[in-house]
């Protein structure tokens, strides 16, 4: 079969060259094929990549084409017809999103024919669209509204009655007003292609067609909020923010999400002192243009449970106090203590500035017992490549075999899971060791326990053979593995597999650790870890400083210790504390967060800090004065300079410093150390095995009413269905 086609191709080639010779063209060199196609948009020559469509060519030429159904990250539907343009030699206007750009195509976008055609389309779209812009949440940022200003008529020829469509209940996040729907099917394609929960569709036909789930059903995706951004009209809007704002009242601040370790880029829209909504910001290298539901909807928690003044524990529990009193209380408690009798525990939301300030302060006090919550405090962070997502998030697109070890990316980093899903849809096999989770794409389950890794390492292992054969294999170790008691033994096995399957090779590092907390990588980068002496120490600390740590293990905070809690939400840590120092949440401060691939990014101040609360590094700086060990920096710039001293790559924002692999030498030493360790029998589980852990992860999301509603809704995603078939 193949031989025949090759022969045919050769024949064709000979014939082509013969034809060229006949025409006297053979003397001319063939134009270099650079994979580009030249088209003419309104007379201007434009080059676009082969395979682009006419709409993309027009975009490249800087010509704006109106559109509703076309979206660059979704498949092409071609059903709104708004992007009509005129193409020379075509008898009718063509839908530019569905027409491939051909060499030499002459495209015109501003002719009377195009205008008339688009006006016709707009008139048809508006026939059944309600005239409720004044009460529509999309008003002011609505594609239909904007484009009707250009192509709409100021009067209607429609004398019938407009249709009405019943609203659908899609859960606590997405509000629907289905009468406004123009059937662009973006939400359907998003659910099918990106989110992987195929629940939306068009039912009925003709004028009775409606978008919905047919039966009452919840959108069971952690990315469902993105359909709000995708909807070009007001059919899908934010339920928590319904009727609370007009978009022109909002002040936008470009920031970074801290709800997971991906560090999705967000835009925080605020009005006065309130965060009104959070939407994604385009960053191809991190989150493309999606964010998780937690990142989008947890902002209501910024109003609840806030710590806005210092507290001191008195006779009747925590009492409001002033900063000097609170500091005095801490100084009194710390007064007679040696450095070795103190401990600092950093939480999952701590920014790098406060981490370095606290580390410096504790070190100055002679304390080396620095920990991060979540159990990985005795982790060895000497080599960055041992705890980073080394392939980088973009690198994931290049992988051709993926092995997950004890992780549930759907909940730990939903946006990353969408990328994994995209890779899987394009043919990359995904296999998993550990508990089975529904990741919205087929996963080959190799086994649950750590012993599965032994089986994979055997020479006859069929999977190892396949994994070895891949040119860019990828191992992703979940945060759940790092929190296990037998972590070293499991990691050693993973490292063996990495070595055996050549996962790290020239130009490719396929060993990845997927963290689940925003502060984790920065803490490891800064060496926020116990010193060897602190590790060896047996004595329980008498003073524990919790830097936003609410998920600390009981062992880290002895019952009789004096606890200082610094944070922004009243949660487990504040309840345990003897002194509470109010800090700021991620929307209120400028703070560096390092994402799982080691990319330092900065949050920005969207709203003012609450009450007496101060930025976390400033609190530590002020406290250092009281404790008699003043820190040598007084401004953010100086803290950041100090950050860059401790970890130089943190000085370069938004860029990933490629971690060194050191030829695996480090892991050989590591294996030596972990030789005696043995693995436990329990399955390798994710740190977020259940959706409730996703919706309520940290002190912010736990204070959010919306997140609580999500959990309640997800407990029965399909009303009226028997619980057994309800699924995840």
């Amino acid at each position: 079969m193949q031989g025949r086609s090759v022969a045919a191709a050769a024949r064709q080639l000979r014939r082509a060259s013969w034809l060229q010779a006949q025409r006297g063209l053979s003397a001319q060199p063939a134009p270099a094929d650079d994979g580009m196609v030249e088209v003419f948009v309104n007379g201007q020559a434009t080059k676009v990549a082969r395979g682009s469509n006419v709409l993309q060519a027009c975009d490249a030429a800087g010509v704006d084409i109106p559109r509703f159904c076309y979206h660059q990250r979704l498949s092409i539907a071609g059903n709104c017809r708004m992007c009509l343009v005129e193409v020379e030699k075509s008898p009718k206007p063509v839908a530019s999103c569905a027409m491939p750009a051909a060499p030499g195509m002459v495209i015109r976008t501003h002719t009377p024919l195009v205008k008339k055609a688009r006006e016709g389309v707009m008139e048809l779209l508006l026939i059944n669209h309600p005239l409720d812009c004044p009460i529509c949440d999309q008003g002011g940022e609505c594609d239909l509204q904007d484009q009707s200003m250009v192509f709409g008529s100021d009067r209607s020829r429609f004398t019938e009655v407009k249709r009405a469509v019943s609203d659908k209940n899609l859960g606590p996040l997405v509000k629907t007003v289905m009468t406004r729907c123009i059937h662009c099917t973006r939400c359907i394609r998003f659910a099918k292609e990106v989110a992987g929960t195929d629940d939306l569709g068009i039912t009925g036909r003709g004028r009775d067609a409606e978008v919905g789930t047919y039966v009452d059903k919840l959108l069971t995706s952690e990315l469902s909020g993105n359909v709000i951004d995708l909807c070009p009209v007001g059919a899908l809007t934010s339920k928590p923010a319904a009727f609370t704002y007009r978009n022109w009242e909002l002040k936008s601040t470009e920031s970074v999400d801290t709800s997971d370790a991906l560090g999705a880029n967000i835009r925080v829209d605020s009005r006065g002192v309130e965060v009104i909504r959070i939407v994604p910001r385009l960053n191809e290298d991190v989150n493309q243009e999606w964010i998780s539901d937690k990142a989008r909807f947890q902002y209501d928690a910024l109003r609840y449970q806030r710590l806005n003044v210092p507290y001191i524990k008195g006779e009747q529990g925590l009492q409001q106090a002033t900063w000097p009193d609170a500091f005095a209380a801490v100084a009194k408690a710390a007064g007679g203590l040696k450095g070795s009798e103190m401990r600092a525990v950093a939480g999952r939301l701590a920014d790098a500035e406060s981490l370095v300030a606290l580390k410096d302060l504790m070190n100055r006090l002679g304390c080396g017992d620095l920990r991060v919550e979540g159990g990985s405090s005795d982790f060895d962070a000497d080599v960055r490549s041992s705890y980073l997502f080394n392939s980088s998030v973009v690198g994931l697109d290049a992988a051709d075999a993926i092995l997950l070890v004890g992780c549930n990316p759907r909940l730990e980093a939903p946006v990353l899971n969408a990328r994994l899903r995209a890779a899987n849809l394009s043919g990359v096999p995904v296999a998993a060791v550990g508990e089975a989770y529904d990741l919205t794409y087929p996963v080959e389950q190799l086994g649950e326990g750590a012993d599965t890794l032994d089986k994979l390492l055997k020479n006859g292992s069929e999977y190892l053979k396949r994994f070895k054969g891949a040119s860019r294999p990828m191992v992703i170790v979940g945060a759940g593995v790092l929190q296990r008691a037998d972590r070293d033994a499991v990691l050693q096995k993973v490292h063996k597999l990495v070595e055996k399957a050549d996962v790290v090779r020239e130009g490719w590092n396929g060993f990845n650790v997927m963290h689940d907390a925003a502060a984790r990588v920065a803490a490891l980068d800064l060496g926020f870890l116990p010193s060897p002496r602190a590790r060896a120490a047996k004595a329980a600390p008498k003073l524990v400083y919790l830097l936003g740590a609410d998920d600390y293990s009981e062992a880290d905070v002895p019952a009789d210790a004096f606890v200082v809690y610094q944070g922004h939400h009243g949660d487990r840590g504040a309840a345990r504390a003897d002194v509470v120092l109010p800090g700021t949440a991620y929307t209120e401060k400028v703070g560096t967060y390092v994402n799982m691939e080691g990319r330092p990014q900065s949050t920005k101040t969207a709203t003012a800090s609450l009450g007496d609360a101060r930025d976390d590094w400033k609190v530590v700086r002020a406290l250092s004065e009281v404790l008699g060990a003043p820190l040598p920096y007084n401004s953010l710039e100086e803290v950041r300079r100090r950050l860059a001293d401790v970890a130089p790559h943190l000085g370069r924002r938004d860029a990933v410093e490629p971690p060194l692999w050191l030829n695996g030498e480090y892991f050989k030493a590591f294996a030596e150390k972990a030789r005696k360790a043995s693995t436990g029998g329990e399955p390798l589980a994710s740190s977020m095995p259940h959706f409730s852990a996703f919706y309520q992860t940290d002190s912010i999301s736990r204070a959010s009413k919306v997140m609580a509603k999500c959990i309640k809704a997800r407990q029965q995603p399909v009303p009226g269905v028997r619980a057994a078939s309800a699924g995840m």
């Binding site: 019938e160 019943s166 036909r205 067609a209 039966v215």
Partner: protein
């Protein structure tokens, strides 16, 4: 004006349906909506809503599975398509499920088809709601569908509808209390030369006994006779009621069969056909002769 009134009716039906979710109220609303005899284009007269509402006989707990004999048919249907395009078998399988399930597709039946074809349920719902020959609510044994498209309408479809409505005591979208007949309307079925016509689907006998028959050249009296025969368990004559096929033997005019004997020259193709004749397209009309080339 009329269509505006219907739109209002539909709108109010939707509103009251949203307000009251009990199935009895929903049925009443559906019946009220059905009273306007002509609704929107290509809407099933019995399935006017394109979303599912739970009812006692149609909810998540309803069960449906193909019989063993039908599973063989399912396997045969699936074998017609490439294994990676299994979803192609969707429409034949929905048809099979509908025949087995007394002429309608319950939620369970659609979910079963989705499971058999390994596809998301919503993709099945989309297809089942799109095609008007899939019924999503309970049907009578016989689904009597009156064609109301132009040729049938000109030849007296309205009289057929009126006769059925009066005789059966039901309107479009309704079922007789004895569960024998559901009256429906449909678009052109391609039997225009023998207009007016009705089609009757027999859902009484499962997959084996299923039939879908046309009855053509109908007068109101013929229609009533057909329905009565069906009710008694008889087998009415299928096809034209007054001629053998579609030969020029007469027509239904004013609700009566009027025979017309063709003249001998109309019965042969051997001689010169009688006019009107086509003009000769090759002949250039004198007035439009091409202008003489310029010198």
């Amino acid at each position: 004006m009329r269509s505006a009134a219907q739109a209002l009716l539909r709108y109010s039906a939707l509103l009251s349906q949203q307000a009251s979710r009990t199935s009895a109220a929903a049925q009443a609303v559906q019946a009220a909506a059905c009273l306007s005899n002509q609704r929107w284009f290509a809407t099933n007269s019995h399935d006017i809503f394109n979303v599912h509402r739970h009812e006692a006989h149609n909810n998540w707990d309803t069960e449906f599975d193909f019989t063993d004999a039908n599973y063989e048919k399912v396997a045969e249907v699936i074998s017609r398509y490439p294994s990676n395009y299994k979803a192609s078998a969707l429409i034949p399988l929905l048809d099979l499920a509908q025949q087995q399930n007394d002429g309608w597709l319950s939620l369970a039946a659609m979910n079963r088809v989705a499971k058999v074809l390994d596809m998301p349920e919503i993709r099945v719902y989309e297809v089942a709601t799109f095609y008007t020959m899939f019924n999503r609510s309970k049907m009578g044994r016989y689904h009597v569908m009156v064609c109301g498209t132009t040729p049938c309408m000109l030849q007296g479809a309205k009289g057929i509808y009126k006769a059925l409505k009066e005789h059966l005591g039901i309107d479009y979208g309704q079922t007789t209390p004895d569960g024998m007949f559901t009256l429906g309307e449909m678009e052109c079925m391609g039997a225009c030369v023998n207009a007016p016509m009705i089609a009757v689907a027999d859902y009484g006998g499962g997959v084996e006994g299923f039939s879908y028959s046309y009855f053509e050249d109908l007068t109101p009296a013929d229609t009533v006779a057909i329905v009565d025969t069906l009710k008694k368990g008889g087998k009415p004559k299928i096809g034209s009621q007054h001629r053998s096929k579609a030969e020029p033997a007469g027509a239904v005019i004013g609700g009566k069969w009027v025979p017309s004997k063709p003249t001998p020259e109309q019965m042969t193709l051997m001689g010169e056909p009688p006019g009107p004749y086509c003009r000769n397209l090759d002949e250039v009309p004198a007035a439009q002769a091409p202008p003489a080339p310029p010198k």
